[in-house]
């Protein structure tokens, strides 16, 4: 069984040493940005000695990591390093794969996500997820796709229309689709579909949003829009972004975590990871020496 179904190894080795200077410049620019305003307290996630397996294969080998509230944390690392797997442990999607299991402790504001009493459905309502490939429901309209998050999780409709509008506005898609809410969701462009999926996720009003390479299937313009959206969303949510694209990590993340062969190598403020990493392997990776 393969661990990360995406991308060839060559994809992640795109940034040469020339690019790393630009990266550093970008990172320091990022550091000067004023701290984002907080509209709603996100929640903190704590990973302690998390290990994840596919059958006998250990994909994540004991990771300790904190995701701070109202911050964007980027997960970087070469293909197959376990970053997607680790993230999928946080909303317990990892265990949906036959033969897969996870060990260790993951808490959200102190509550254990893997507690014996915990309903996995409630975990996924608290921890939303956006996938690599936009995956709107093909049988549903734009409106229903956003409402699906609410209906599927069994919440009462109530002010469904308001909530759909608020979610679409939140995902920066409202102005583009407000006149065709009853058209099929799959009729939108790739970037719009991905923002529709983000709208669908925030319609459930989670505490945390996990994004598993949300822009890898999008063109640069659509990527920019999603990145701007991520920057806005952190006012209300704790956000984790898995990415192959180091420039993207530099652009959107407050903190960046570097993983290698299932282990957490280094976690630090983003500008430090890209300018002054403490681990040699991190430096080699961010300067494009391997990966």
């Amino acid at each position: 069984m393969t661990m990360t179904p995406h991308s060839s190894p060559s994809e992640s080795s795109s940034s040469g040493s020339a690019a790393s200077n630009a990266l550093a410049a970008e990172a320091s620019e990022h550091a000067e940005k004023p701290a984002a305003k907080v509209e709603r307290e996100g929640r903190e996630i704590k990973l302690e000695a998390v290990r994840a397996f596919y059958g006998d294969l250990e994909a994540v080998k004991g990771v300790d990591l904190d995701f701070r509230a109202n911050e964007v944390t980027a997960m970087i690392g070469p293909s197959g390093c376990g970053k997607s797997t680790l993230v999928r442990c946080i909303n317990r999607m990892h265990e949906e794969i036959p033969g897969a299991r996870a060990e260790g402790r993951i808490t959200i504001d102190g509550e254990d996500l893997y507690g014996a009493e915990v309903d996995v459905v409630s975990v996924r309502r608290a921890v939303g997820m956006v996938f690599q490939k936009p995956n709107p429901f093909p049988t549903m309209s734009i409106f229903d796709n956003v409402a699906a998050g609410v209906r599927l999780s069994g919440m009462k409709g109530g002010k469904l229309k308001e909530r759909v509008e608020r979610s679409l506005r939140g995902a920066g898609l409202w102005e583009e689709v407000k006149d065709r809410l009853d058209m099929p969701g799959v009729g939108l462009s790739g970037g719009q579909q991905q923002r529709l999926c983000i709208a669908r996720t925030i319609a459930v009003e989670p505490e945390v949003i996990l994004m598993d390479e949300p822009c890898s299937a999008l063109d640069p313009i659509a990527t920019l829009k999603v990145e701007e959206l991520i920057a806005e969303l952190k006012a209300s949510y704790t956000i984790v972004v898995v990415t192959h694209n180091m420039q993207q990590a530099a652009r959107v993340a407050d903190r960046t975590a570097f993983m290698l062969t299932g282990e957490m190598v280094e976690v630090a403020p983003t500008e430090q990871i890209f300018t002054n990493p403490s681990d040699e392997r991190t430096e080699q990776y961010v300067t494009g020496k391997f990966g």
């Binding site: 036959p98 996938f131 599927l152 996720t201």
Partner: protein
């Protein structure tokens, strides 16, 4: 000498011979089909009339033989009840196999049994129902619903196998998306998986219906046959295949002609079902 040369005469001849052989093969395969349709039209069309479709067989040896109204209605009732029994069960089994069973050993056993069931001759299902339900006089002797049950057993593996294929075509990314939104699995199945697969499920079910509609053997000793019009599943009921079977053995020309007319009607009904099934496939967004 030029690097390019003309096609050699030998290769040209071989090519022509091979094309001719394949074309002849295709033509030979078409002959019986064309003949069947030709004879059906030639012998069946003269039997068609308003009277033919609006009257029941009289059963009298002289005078008006009557039409096939009760047979058409009976076939529709039989097949509808059979579909109501087999489609929910078949789709349910397929859902278990795709959503829960997956690669488990028990699921493999079910798949194997379904395959075996596909190969069971239809008369065996008739015999089974006859032995278990008719001889024992459970709910009376012959009854339409017992015929439907025999047909349902026949349809079940077809429905199950086609539904399994279609459900497997629903991308896992949709299931993941729904699960990640915090949907319980049953709601994922009813709100996302089944609607996405619906056109394919309709197609598979209709093809099973089309197959069952033409079956004679299971009905002979379960639903039996009466002349009069009946829509009551607990009573004996007429049907097109059994009517054809009985009429074709009669000495009177007018009744044999009625068999041809009924056969043409049956083929037309099955053709309509198949066309509807095709239209449903065209609506599919996933395959």
């Amino acid at each position: 000498m030029s690097a390019l040369s003309a096609v050699s005469p030998r290769r040209r001849r071989t090519d022509q011979a091979a094309r001719a052989a394949l074309g002849a093969g295709a033509a030979i395969a078409l002959v019986p089909l064309v003949l069947v349709i030709f004879y059906l039209m030639k012998k069946g069309l003269p039997a068609w009339s308003w009277h033919f479709f609006t009257s029941d067989p009289t059963g009298s040896f002289l005078g008006d033989a009557g039409g096939i109204r009760s047979a058409i209605v009976g076939t529709l009732v039989l097949v509808a009840v059979a579909a109501a029994m087999s489609i929910p069960a078949g789709v349910g089994v397929a859902l278990y196999l795709v959503e829960y069973g997956k690669a488990k050993r028990f699921a493999g056993l079910i798949r194997y049994l379904v395959d075996v069931m596909t190969g069971v001759p239809s008369i065996v299902f008739g015999l089974f129902v006859y032995t278990v339900l008719v001889i024992t006089s459970i709910g009376g002797g012959f009854a339409a619903w017992k015929g439907s049950l025999a047909l349902a057993l026949l349809m079940l593996p077809v429905v199950t196998r086609s539904a399994e294929v279609v459900l497997n075509l629903v991308p896992d990314s949709l299931r993941e998306a729904a699960l990640a939104l915090g949907a319980p699995r049953w709601r994922v199945i009813f709100r996302v998986v089944l609607p996405s697969a619906l056109p394919g499920l309709v197609t598979g079910s209709l093809l099973a219906v089309a197959r069952a509609a033409g079956e004679t053997a299971p009905l002979l000793f379960t639903a039996f046959a009466v002349f009069g019009l009946s829509v009551d599943p607990s009573q004996e009921i007429n049907s097109l295949p059994v009517q054809i079977f009985n009429d074709a053995r009669q000495p009177r020309d007018v009744i044999v002609t009625r068999a041809w007319g009924a056969a043409l009607t049956l083929v037309l009904l099955i053709l309509i079902t198949t066309v509807v099934a095709r239209l449903a496939t065209r609506r599919s967004r996933i395959a």
